[in-house]
């Protein structure tokens, strides 16, 4: 047998396979985490939503779409979805506009900016529950906020017990908690805008507002998209603030979807129906994220 006829055995560990294996090893922890803590629970929640689960009686019966039919007939659902929408819209508008305003102010070359950046960002790293408990004391009828207003001769409302002010209070507490995160992201984006563009605009006679609208906003629009997605998704998951400040009241005025599903599953022990509400939340978050992602083609400016 000649040498030319000898079959060449291909080595198993080719460079491509080694690279692929290394890649899989690197992503393995994240992948296992996503499977164990996202995909499996998601599947389980869907499975639970098809069952009536009485924890105390230890019964777990398949009921098909009954929980979904209950969802459609739930008389509380419209007010819960309305409260969720009001909270999300209020939070997104207030948080993003305030974060952008603070970022623009902190982007100036002024003294003491580091102090202000730290001041606005520090609530982000404070424990959420601790932050909310402090605010619950400040907002109570005989609390700090109304004490300050009284010094100014103003009789403050009963912030957390009045349907007109309870949701506003929760939104404001949440904005103060997290505005620093968006502010830092906006600040980073603002500092990435080439300064020569402003110089050119000034040469062309553009005012500060026009510069902001025509240069700043388009160039930071990818960050606006990112922060809007984060803020919208985060707003739909609000729980601790509601649990500590209002427990969903007064009436049902601050009962948002996550708090309602917590009540159904963990307080009322309707785990099947609670799971159905979780699926509804998942669908809403997925739809909103998809819609925002689609909007990027129209509103986000990419340099390339």
């Amino acid at each position: 047998m000649s040498l030319a006829e000898t079959p060449q055995k291909r080595p198993f560990w080719t460079m491509a396979r080694r690279d692929a294996a290394a890649g899989y090893v690197f992503i393995a922890p994240q992948l296992i985490g996503i499977i164990a803590f996202v995909l499996v629970p998601l599947g389980l929640v869907f499975w639970y939503s098809l069952h009536e689960w009485n924890v105390l009686a230890s019964t777990f019966n398949y009921v098909g779409a009954a929980n979904y039919q209950m969802l459609l007939a739930d008389p509380n659902l419209p007010s819960v979805l309305w409260a969720s929408a009001v909270f999300s819209v209020g939070l997104v508008i207030l948080n993003m506009s305030l974060a952008l305003l603070l970022a623009v102010l902190l982007d100036q070359k002024l003294r003491g900016l580091v102090v202000f950046r730290t001041l606005f960002f520090s609530p982000v790293v404070v424990s959420l529950v601790a932050w909310t408990i402090v605010w619950s004391f400040l907002l109570q009828n005989n609390g700090g906020i109304n004490g300050l207003l009284a010094m100014l001769g103003i009789e403050g409302p009963n912030w957390l017990r009045n349907p007109a002010t309870a949701m506003v209070s929760v939104v404001v507490v949440q904005v103060f908690k997290n505005v620093g995160l968006n502010m830092v992201l906006f600040l980073a984006a603002l500092q990435g805008v080439p300064k020569e563009l402003y110089e050119a605009a000034r040469v062309d006679g553009a005012g500060r507002f026009k510069q902001f609208r025509r240069i700043t906003l388009p160039l930071i629009s990818p960050t606006i998209l990112l922060t809007s997605i984060i803020t919208v998704v985060g707003s739909l998951q609000v729980f601790a603030q509601i649990a500590v400040l209002t427990q969903g009241g007064p009436g049902m005025s601050t009962t948002v979807l996550v708090y309602y599903l917590y009540q159904q599953a963990f307080q009322f022990h309707f785990f099947g129906y609670g799971s159905t509400l979780s699926i509804l939340l998942f669908v809403i978050v997925a739809a909103l994220t998809f819609a925002q992602w689609q909007l990027r083609k129209r509103i986000v400016f990419y340099e390339n």
Binding site: W53, N54, V55, L56, A57, S58, F137, L139, Q140, N141, N142, G143, N158, W159, L160, R161, Q247, G248, G249, P250, G251, M252, T255, Q263, F266, Q267, F268, H269, F271
Partner: protein, 422 residues
């Protein structure tokens, strides 16, 4: 090479099987019971641990650990543990959720085990005390605490405001809700707080039973099927409470967090077990008096706590045996120092005075013994959490100055009736 692998495998298998076998033996011998409680009070825990140690005399292989859970989320945490496949062997249960636990079949029956326990004397435990925890003649949880609601009084605050103290009103036979609210209103006008219903916080409305029972009001009919919130006794009682809050300023309004034991409040309605909160530094002249008489006369309201063993637990028989030991006459006497007992033999001034040194003989007679003997338990219902929340949401519109009491209570019934009728 193969021989070497075989030897190694055999050695490993031998070690593993040996460990497994001895592990099985340990598992048969050692029993670890877990009991959830809602008190993290060190004195309570020390007493429970002492009782658990005593159980070791007859069950040397049994260890009992007590797991305190926060009171506010106690039942939620407990049911979450059950849902997560990690139920405790035993648990305290609130009176309001008793129906859920007793009727669901979650708890192990106790009557036979208690009857078979030497010296237990179940006949000593009154039927009134066990009514809430019994189904079809079978006891499912032991009511280890029957704690009457009463008024703690700060005489310093009341006399400084120029009002009559409850003791004076009792002495003159004028201890009624009208006069109690009048005293509280006088204190309120002096800049202090008149009367606080502890833990009510305009959320836990069932605690108002300590007031509305004086009007003969109930939230639902005896069979639990019909809402009675809109009936005249409740309208009258709620009108009186509303007036006390918003017109007379006798009670703090919604959103005001006031603690009686800080010393700035005239009176508070709470259970007698709260006596432990009385300040030792800067003490004030305090008193403990029974609830004032309402339009239907004198009455009493009690809060109950039961302990049950979970039927689905791995060590049900041992858990039930421990519960029988924990609540036998001897240990019931120990428990009585913190938790007013359900045993008739312990309901006497001598026993209760020895275990409640802060209370005078008169207070024990008038408040504790009389309260336990005559008290009606706080309202509870199957599916209480949902009913509680539904009524809470409807009642929120009552807690404003210009509320139409009758209309609000009518709305309460509209919203809760479908749940009661289930």
């Amino acid at each position: 090479m193969k021989t070497k692998y075989l030897k190694t495998s055999a050695a490993i298998a031998g070690i593993v099987l040996g460990l497994a076998a001895s592990g099985t033996a340990w598992a048969q011998d050692a029993v670890n019971l877990r009991m959830t409680i809602w008190s993290a009070n060190e004195a309570h825990l020390a007493m429970f641990n002492e009782i658990a140690e005593g159980f070791k005399a007859t069950h040397p292989n049994v260890t009992v650990s007590f797991e305190p859970l926060p009171f506010d989320s106690y039942t939620t945490t407990l049911t979450t543990q059950i849902a997560g496949g990690n139920p405790p062997d035993l648990a305290w249960i609130l009176e309001t959720t008793a129906a859920d636990f007793v009727n669901s079949g979650a708890l192990a029956p106790l009557s036979d085990a208690f009857a078979a326990t030497e010296g237990y004397d179940i006949a000593d435990v009154s039927e009134k005390a066990t009514a809430l925890w019994t189904r079809d003649g079978q006891l499912y949880a032991y009511p280890f605490s029957t704690s009457p609601f009463a008024l703690f009084v700060n005489n310093d605050v009341i006399t400084a405001a120029g009002a009559k103290t409850p003791a004076e009103l009792i002495a003159s036979g004028e201890w009624t809700w009208d006069n109690a609210f009048a005293t509280a209103a006088t204190v309120g006008q002096s800049g202090k707080t008149g009367l606080v219903v502890r833990d009510f916080k305009y959320q836990v409305w069932q605690n108002l039973a300590s007031i509305w029972n004086g009007w003969g009001a109930t939230p639902w009919s005896e069979d639990g099927k019909t809402c009675t919130f809109a009936d005249q006794p409740m309208v009258d009682a709620m009108t009186a409470i509303h007036k006390a809050i918003f017109t007379d300023k006798a009670m703090p309004g919604p959103g005001e967090d006031i603690d009686f034991f800080a010393g700035e409040t005239g009176m508070t309605i709470t259970q007698i077990s709260r006596a432990s909160l009385l300040p030792t530094e800067n003490p004030f002249d305090w008193d403990l008096v029974p609830l004032p008489a309402g339009p239907v006369g004198e009455y009493a309201v009690v809060g109950q706590a039961g302990v049950g063993a979970f039927a689905a637990g791995a060590n049900v028989d041992t858990a039930v045996a421990f519960l029988a030991y924990m609540t036998n006459p001897e240990n019931s006497q120990k428990l009585a120092q913190f938790f007013p007992p359900a045993r008739a033999s312990l309901l006497n001034a001598e026993t209760l005075a020895a275990t409640n040194p802060l209370l005078s003989a008169e207070q024990i007679d008038n408040v504790v013994i009389s309260g336990i003997s005559n008290g009606v338990v706080l309202p509870g219902h199957t599916n209480f959490a949902q009913i509680q929340q539904t009524i809470r949401a409807s009642l929120d519109s009552l807690w404003v100055a210009d509320a139409d009491v009758a209309a609000v209570l009518g709305n309460v019934c509209s919203s809760v009736s479908p749940l009661l009728a289930r």
